[in-house]
Amino acid sequence: MRGRGDSVVSIQTLTKSFSTGVTALQDIDLEIAPGEFISLIGPSGCGKSTLLRVIGDLVEPTSGTLRVNGKTAHQARVDHDYGIVFQDAVLYDWRTVQRNVSLPLELLGWDRAKRKERVREMLELVELTGFESSRPWQLSGGMQQRVSIARALSFDPALLLMDEPFGALDEMTRERLNMELLRIWEKSGSTVVFVTHSIPEAVFLSTRVVVMSARPGRIAATIDVDLRQPRGGETREDARFFELVTEVREALAAGHGEAAGGRSSSVEELF
């Protein structure tokens, strides 16, 4: 379906076991095309965060192949192909907002004028113009996470890796940031791998949802999300949205090893 040559991420029969004997990931096959928005969803301990870290070359796989932009993950990291956003913003307290955003640019050796211009653009993108000189601890959780997104996108990475970025936020902030993230994604054209616990969030954001099951972590199902782009508030009220949410929920339940009879009950749970 998707050619391996032009994939941003290409994973074949990848396995990750820890020295404790736990198999976190088993036989993972995944191709991610440029511009895709992929969500990894699954129960706790299904290895979705580990998979994200393996892709980002922060964790070494035990076996299997992984190519990012046709290179090894290590080379991709050296080439600054990754922008990462964690559950917490992980901003540096001792830096102002603008200096937090410009951190990767400093590391890439951009000159001051270029950095300043890009930081201005990025803060405009995440709608934080005017907060350049604020300190991270003066901002709300949602604003901090927007700074973190600006920092991750500032150097135009080929791949944006997001590990439950909105998991610590309240529902209203979360939905607003979901909308913003879609807007930023459309504008930047980057490829996103997004780890989440939330089914509606995964369906709302993604072009594809990868459902994982636990012990050992495997891909239980891959669901194409054919919702109309651009998405907005009305997407959440679309009948197709609910169908897809149900589909993901059933795939999750099936991954848990529940019998076919369990399906209808899990659908009822949702409503």
Partner: protein, 296 residues
């Protein structure tokens, strides 16, 4: 309830006064504590002298001179016709301060460098840390003559040798706290730096060091006072007369005749320690502009 409301009004206006003059309440606290301490000293002296209690020690003008006598001593000549005590004491304080500051800087640099080294090598940390800890169990009195004579034979001036002894006391808290501080950043902050493929140098400079600063300043505050102690103690076995250590040894010998001189010297030692501590605390305020909860 009219009186109640009035009370509250008065209390509120009082609070406002404290806010209007920043630092006033702080200053008042200091003043109250000093007055209380002085009252405790004089009260104790008065009670023991009038009752004739001798436990745990005999109280008289030799063991506990009146505070005003101690203060008066600053103006009294040390030798007949000589300058008032305050002059030689200030000279001695300056001499000891030189040793203490040089020792403090040397100790801080060595301690921090050691921490940077250890944080990058698990092997070194495991191998060296026990000896660093053990170094502090050797009394400075035992090392002082060796250091002073050893460095003296190389032509190093006495006060510089004492500075080395002061550094011996100050490097330890800096090394231990800085090591902790250099490891203190969020693990994901390290992952973030790794995802940018940052060099060790970059991680050290942009993440480890800034994250360590609150820990470092805590250590520097301990070291500031320890450096004064180290300098005073170091002077004694080194037979250096020009500093506060020399003054203490000297006035110790005349204690039964002039107890106020030793007490006056003690006050100068304490003030010197406070000044160095204050200088570090002030620097901390200027350097660390963070969330209020980060202030130690």
């Amino acid at each position: 309830m009219w009186w109640n409301a009035r009370h509250m009004e008065a209390a509120a206006s009082e609070r406002r006064v404290w806010k209007v003059v920043p630092g006033l309440s702080k200053l008042a606290t200091y003043a109250i504590v000093i007055v209380a301490l002085c009252a405790a000293w004089e009260g104790y002296k008065w009670l023991w002298e009038t009752t004739g209690w001798t436990w745990p020690f005999l109280v008289d003008d030799t063991t506990m001179p009146h505070l005003w006598d101690i203060l008066k001593a600053f103006g009294e000549p040390v030798t007949t016709g000589g300058p008032a005590l305050i002059h030689p004491l200030l000279d001695a304080a300056w001499f000891t301060a030189k040793e203490a500051i040089a020792g403090f800087v040397l100790g801080a640099v060595v301690g921090f460098a050691l921490a940077v080294l250890l944080v990058h090598s698990r092997l070194l940390e495991r191998g060296l840390l026990p000896y660093i800890v053990a170094s502090q169990t050797v009394p400075i009195l035992a090392i002082a003559p060796m250091v002073v004579i050893g460095l003296g034979s190389k032509g190093v001036e006495g006060w510089k040798a004492v500075a080395v002894l002061a550094a011996y006391l100050t490097f330890f808290p800096v090394a231990i706290n800085a090591l902790r501080g250099l490891q203190s950043a969020d693990p994901r902050a390290f992952e973030l730096m790794e995802s940018y493929a940052s060099s060790r140098w970059s991680i050290l400079w942009r993440l480890r060091v800034p994250a360590s600063l609150p820990y470092l300043f805590t250590a520097l505050k301990i070291s500031a006072t320890a450096s004064v102690i180290g300098a005073i103690i170091g002077e004694t076995p080194a037979s250096i007369q020009e500093g506060l250590g020399g003054a203490i040894v000297n006035f110790n010998q005349y204690y039964s005749l002039q107890p106020t001189f030793l007490w006056a010297t003690n006050i100068v030692c304490a003030v010197l320690g406070l000044v160095l501590f204050g200088a570090v605390a002030l620097t901390e305020r200027l350097v660390l502009r963070r969330a209020p909860e980060h202030y130690a």
